[in-house]
């Protein structure tokens, strides 16, 4: 019984700063809007109906989830080889590599995202380079669209994919890969049949982290999208702060959360950890 005392502080913090506000948001979302107060009196589901039937919002939600999905896939494809490489480096090299992987996190997200506008912008480094070497005459649309947002988010969230996968690969017996080879499997097949299933816990954590972070990202899409592409978090903030429609904004936020949670659940279902049972 006494061991539960260890988690009491964390539980209290979560309760006060996460659970109670969440319940409050749910509460708000079930009330009508009011002109002179944050929300009016009386129970209503109208806010939810509005979120789910408004063509613009549905499209935005879909695009936000799509950006999250593509970013997750991109970080997975880029991150797995890095994690594998790190796990098979010498201890000293690994320390340096970990530093390099974590380095982007030391720079604030605003600065990093702004850095990407310098690179991706219409007059940015990439576009100028493309023009100078005669690759294209028109402007490459790298910014103010979802492609730019995915590129920037992939960079920002790559460490969150690499580190959990690196952790699971490190915990594997290095002889497993060799065992597969000795039994006649090529490196690719050994990877698919032996290593990939065993690193699934790391892949799952990495994917969930990156997906959730991407879907709820605000700063990066705002700077790269330049308000021309709006993801759901930006719309939610607009609704809450600019339009002062608390109940409607709360419903938007909750619908996005719910769909995100549903996708994570389905994802866990599709990637079973058979061996850990």
């Amino acid at each position: 019984m006494r061991k539960y005392l260890l988690i009491v502080p964390a539980v209290v913090v979560l309760l006060v700063f996460l659970v109670i506000p969440y319940i409050d948001i749910i509460f708000i979302s079930l009330h009508p809007a009011a002109d002179d107060r944050p929300y009016g009196s009386g129970f209503t589901l109208r806010n939810y109906v509005q979120v789910l039937t408004d063509g613009y919002l549905v499209h935005q939600t879909a695009m936000t989830l799509w950006i999250g999905l593509v970013t997750t896939c991109a970080t997975l494809v880029l991150g797995f080889p890095v994690a594998w490489f790190m796990a098979h480096s010498s201890a000293r090299a690994r320390a340096i590599q970990q530093g390099i992987v974590l380095m982007p996190l030391l720079v604030g997200i605003v600065v990093r995202s702004y850095g990407w506008t310098v690179i991706l912008g219409n007059n940015g480094i990439l576009n100028r380079l493309a023009r100078d070497i005669g690759l294209t005459r028109s402007v490459l649309p790298l910014m103010y669209n979802s492609l730019g947002i995915v590129i920037a988010l992939t960079h920002v969230f790559l460490p969150f994919m690499i580190l959990p996968i690196f952790g699971t690969i490190r915990s594997l017996d290095p002889a497993l890969f060799l065992a597969g080879r000795s039994l006649g499997a090529s490196p690719a097949i050994t990877m698919r049949r032996v290593i990939l299933p065993l690193t699934m816990p790391g892949i799952q954590s990495g994917c969930v982290l990156v997906f959730i972070l991407s879907v709820s990202a605000y700063v990066t899409p705002m700077l790269i999208g330049g308000m021309r592409v709006k993801t759901m978090p930006m719309t939610v903030v607009n609704t809450l702060i600019d339009a002062f429609q608390w109940p409607f904004g709360a419903a938007q936020a909750l619908v996005l959360s719910a769909i995100g949670a549903l996708i994570v659940l389905v994802f866990f279902r599709l990637t079973p950890l058979r061996w850990s049972r």
Binding site: D173, L178, A179, R181, S182, L183, G184, A185, L198, W275
Partner: protein, 354 residues
């Protein structure tokens, strides 16, 4: 089946020579152990044979075919790892079937062969278990079955018994050796445990510092070590300063503990001064102090080992002797005793002066 030849194998790790011009040939169906302290190159040799490590120079021939350039999956080897390296997400049956699936055998044939090999290692009713549900010894046998089921050209074992407790280790020694002889597969076994190597092998390759120190059958290795280093690594040894002289028309070895004939396997053909004579602990007898032709000694310590008793004795000049008897302890520390050599030929360590 398969003969293995290693020719001038050399491998550097940075500046250190992990393998220094190793050459060796292994007969078909032989069980050969690579024995040596850690870092002597025995594991590296195995990794190079398996294809996990490249060699800088040299050839590896399986039945005369150079495989040095082939990746491991094309060498047709069966390998058992020290950690067993069983796939934890697969059942025992799936683990064993893996190699056969890679060879694209029909499903029925796979099922048959998996069952047959699991029978062979007495695990037929564990096919649906996962590796972590098995004991260390059982995991070891699954690893063996997985390596054998593909009917490889050679079987490579990398310290497979190192993680087992002592009793199980002895059992597995017998089991592996018996299995190997039944199948008749050419086997290379890496170990730092000399007792293991002696018990199992047809031939032992002793390695020190990336070089082959001696290649010999277990008995020759124990009785006729080629150097002081080998003599000390394989079993316990006493060294007495002595010389080789004529005695009744034969060559004899003269030691402070007495004179005995020279071992017939020795290359020495003429009297030789000042040599190191190998005396194994079991070829020294403890006698009463006043017995004829006995040399006086003092008991320093006694170690009871059940079936054997180990003594440390000191001669008058201070030299210590390790003595092993098959009788229960009959002396205690401080006792004055006599020692004499057993009536057996003596081995002179080649090219080694005291």
């Amino acid at each position: 089946m398969t003969t293995v030849a290693i020719e001038n194998l050399t491998r550097h790790f940075g500046r250190t020579r992990a393998l220094d011009d190793i050459s060796l040939s292994i007969d078909d169906g032989h069980f050969v152990s690579f024995l040596g302290p850690s870092g002597c190159g025995k594991s590296t040799t195995l990794r190079v044979l398996a294809g996990f490590d490249a060699c800088d120079r040299g050839r590896i021939l399986f039945d005369g075919q150079d495989v040095a350039a082939l990746p491991p999956e094309q060498r047709d080897i069966g390998m058992v790892f020290q950690s067993y390296a069983l796939f934890p997400h697969m059942t025992v049956g799936q683990n064993v079937a893996f190699g056969l699936e890679m060879r694209r055998l029909p499903r029925d044939a796979i099922r048959q062969r998996v069952r047959a090999v699991l029978d062979l290692v007495h695990l037929a009713d564990h096919s649906d278990r996962h590796p972590r549900q098995l004991s260390g010894g059982q995991q070891q046998r699954v690893a063996l079955a997985r390596a054998l089921v593909i009917e490889p050209r050679i079987l490579l074992l990398d310290e497979p018994l190192a993680n087992l407790d002592a009793i199980l280790r002895e059992e597995m020694r017998v089991f592996i050796r018996e299995l190997q002889q039944r199948i008749g597969i050419t086997t290379i076994y890496v170990t730092h445990d000399q007792a293991e190597a002696m018990a199992m092998s047809d031939m032992i390759v002793v390695m020190f510092g990336g070089r082959v120190a001696q290649v010999a059958p277990p008995r020759d290795l124990y009785e006729c070590p080629g150097s002081l280093q080998v003599a000390s690594f394989v079993g316990q040894a006493n060294y007495l300063a002595g010389h080789v002289a004529h005695d009744n028309g034969q060559l004899a070895v003269v030691t402070p503990l007495g004179t005995r004939p020279l071992d017939g396997r020795s290359a020495i053909t003429a009297p030789a001064p000042a040599r190191n004579i190998l005396i194994r602990p079991e070829s020294i007898c403890i006698t009463p102090p006043a017995a004829s032709d006995a040399v006086p000694a003092t008991v320093i310590s006694v170690q009871y080992g059940g079936n054997l008793t180990n003594y440390v004795l000191a001669l008058a000049d201070g030299q210590q002797l390790h003595v092993q008897t098959a009788t229960p302890p009959s002396h205690a520390g401080g006792d004055r005793v006599g020692v004499r050599l057993a009536d057996a030929p003596l081995w002179v360590i080649p090219d080694c002066r005291p």
